[in-house]
């Protein structure tokens, strides 16, 4: 057992343990922080495997993502300190779905690659990753970037109702207001 093996096992244990805490913890914000630990441990795994670039990208991207998640957790709730059981859901279906999928995938991987030996690939330096992405995988890369761009534009359009035509909801509201005005006017007429 080499140092790399030990590190892999330890980081894997940290990642899995923190992930377990993410889903079991009743502390809302803390479970987000456990997610940081879990994703950080995964970045460590990449590092041990020699994929430096992927490891740092993992930290750069996912830490930011988790911060956004934490912000939602803080802003959509009362940002409680301590456990908040009222925000919990029954665990059984989640355990069934999540555990089943995880175990099934693990069994599948173990079964498929158990007896196969692969030579260790070269370390995933920035140069190699760049060559691969912009060489062999350039089409999927570009398609993905277009997908992300359209998602971005869509998010902006959805979050700004002042772009584009009047939405049906606003039109309905206008009609409702008009009817109300009419009713009020009629009432006034009767009184007079």
């Amino acid at each position: 057992m080499t140092v790399a093996d030990v590190l892999l096992l330890a980081l894997g244990a940290v990642a899995v343990g923190a992930g377990f805490l993410v889903v079991t913890s009743a502390h809302l914000v803390r479970s987000g922080l456990y997610l940081v630990v879990s994703l950080g441990a995964i970045a460590g795994l990449y590092l041990v495997l020699g994929a430096e670039l992927v490891a740092w990208v993992q930290i750069l991207v996912y830490v930011g993502a988790v911060v956004v998640l934490l912000l939602f957790a803080v802003m959509l709730t009362r940002a409680p300190i301590g456990p908040s059981p009222d925000l919990d859901r029954p665990a059984v279906p989640a355990v069934l779905v999540g555990g089943g999928a995880g175990l099934g995938l693990a069994a599948l991987f173990a079964d498929a690659f158990r007896w196969v030996r692969y030579p260790a690939p070269e370390p995933g330096t920035a140069e190699r990753v760049g060559e691969q992405i912009f060489g062999a995988w350039v089409l999927p890369f570009e398609v993905l970037s277009i997908l992300l761009l359209s998602a971005l534009v869509g998010a902006i359009v959805l979050s700004r109702p002042d772009i584009g035509a009047r939405t049906p909801a606003v039109a309905e509201e206008h009609e409702a207001v008009a009817e109300q005005n009419k009713a009020v006017a009629e009432e006034h007429g009767q009184e007079v």
Partner: protein
């Protein structure tokens, strides 16, 4: 030289730089800010122009009571200052001072620096939420919005210079640097410096702290040594941003007699940039939250993107 001795020297050098440079910058801030405001600043500690003021402050912080609020989430509250300080320690390790003078030379040091600097947001949110104080929480949410926003121009500006140099290694970028890059990469350098200021939450970008409206933002509930950790993180942040700007945009150790005096050039440039950071703090009032976001998204990001186009164009032509 045996491996362990080499390692020990490197770690000791990084720790010494990590502890001494922020103190120097902090003392410089005391005195420069005082004189810019027509005062003289600390004069008593250490007998000569108050040179030992920050040491005295440190001693004072150690003696103070370590208070954790009753309703706070104790673990997260206590962990936050360390999470705030730790990324900067990692970043200091990768900054090259002179030719071959770097604690840990990495193939993709730039990426590491940017990734690790991003962890600071987590520390802000941790301290803000765990304090169980509405001012802290407001400061933390402001801080998160600011840090997430300004990370984008920071990364884009750094990407521009990485493209120009054709490498992601910090010493590699310095080696590839030419004097005419000062003009070519000037917009990116400005964007990087301003976004870096916002990343370390220095005035005029100190809306998350905003002592006139939020008491002290996410640091409100901290006392004693933990508060000192946050302050140390701020001053290490100054050093780190100045050093990164030096390395990426001002040519690091390049200068007359760079073979012998390269380290001196780097330190001089870092010192000059730190002075500018202090200068900006003294001169400009705090930006309002909407102005802050406006500057980021409507000025810095477009300028950084335009700089990327310019870099590609010049790179393709030459």
């Amino acid at each position: 030289m045996p491996l362990w001795l080499d390692l020990l020297i490197r770690v000791a050098a990084v720790l010494a730089g990590f502890l001494v440079l922020p103190l120097v910058v902090g003392q410089a801030e005391h005195k420069v800010m005082a004189h810019m405001q027509g005062r003289v600043g600390p004069m008593y500690a250490g007998a000569f122009h108050g040179w030992a003021q920050l040491i005295a402050d440190g001693v004072k912080f150690v003696q103070k009571e370590d208070i954790t609020p009753h309703d706070a989430d104790r673990t997260v509250f206590r962990l936050a200052p360390i999470v705030a300080l730790f990324p900067y320690l990692v970043v200091v390790m990768t900054i090259p001072i002179g030719p071959g003078l770097v604690a840990q030379s990495l193939d993709i040091g730039l990426f590491l620096v940017l990734a690790v600097l991003g962890i600071g947001v987590v520390a802000v949110l941790m301290s803000a939420w765990a304090s169980a104080n509405k001012y802290s929480l407001l400061g933390g949410v402001r801080g998160a919005a600011q840090l997430l926003g300004y990370e984008l121009p920071l990364v884009l500006a750094a990407a521009s210079v990485a493209m120009a140099a054709g490498t992601l290694s910090l010493p590699g970028i310095v080696e590839a640097w030419q004097p005419w890059w000062l003009i070519w990469q000037a917009p990116a350098g400005l964007v990087f410096f301003i976004a870096g200021l916002a990343e370390i939450r220095r005035p005029p970008f100190d809306m998350p702290i905003a002592d006139s409206e939020l008491v002290f933002g996410y640091m409100t509930e901290y006392t004693g040594l933990r508060f000192a950790f946050f302050l140390l993180a701020e001053y290490v942040g100054i050093v780190v941003i100045a050093a990164l700007t030096t390395v990426l945009f001002l040519g690091g150790w390049h200068g007359p007699m760079e073979d012998q005096l390269g380290w001196l050039w780097t330190l001089l440039k870092i010192g000059a940039l730190s002075f500018v950071i202090i200068w900006l703090r003294v001169t400009f009032p705090r930006m309002r939250e909407d102005q802050l976001q406006r500057l980021c998204w409507l000025v810095l990001v477009p300028v950084a993107l335009a700089q990327l186009v310019l870099t590609v164009a010049v790179k393709a032509l030459t």
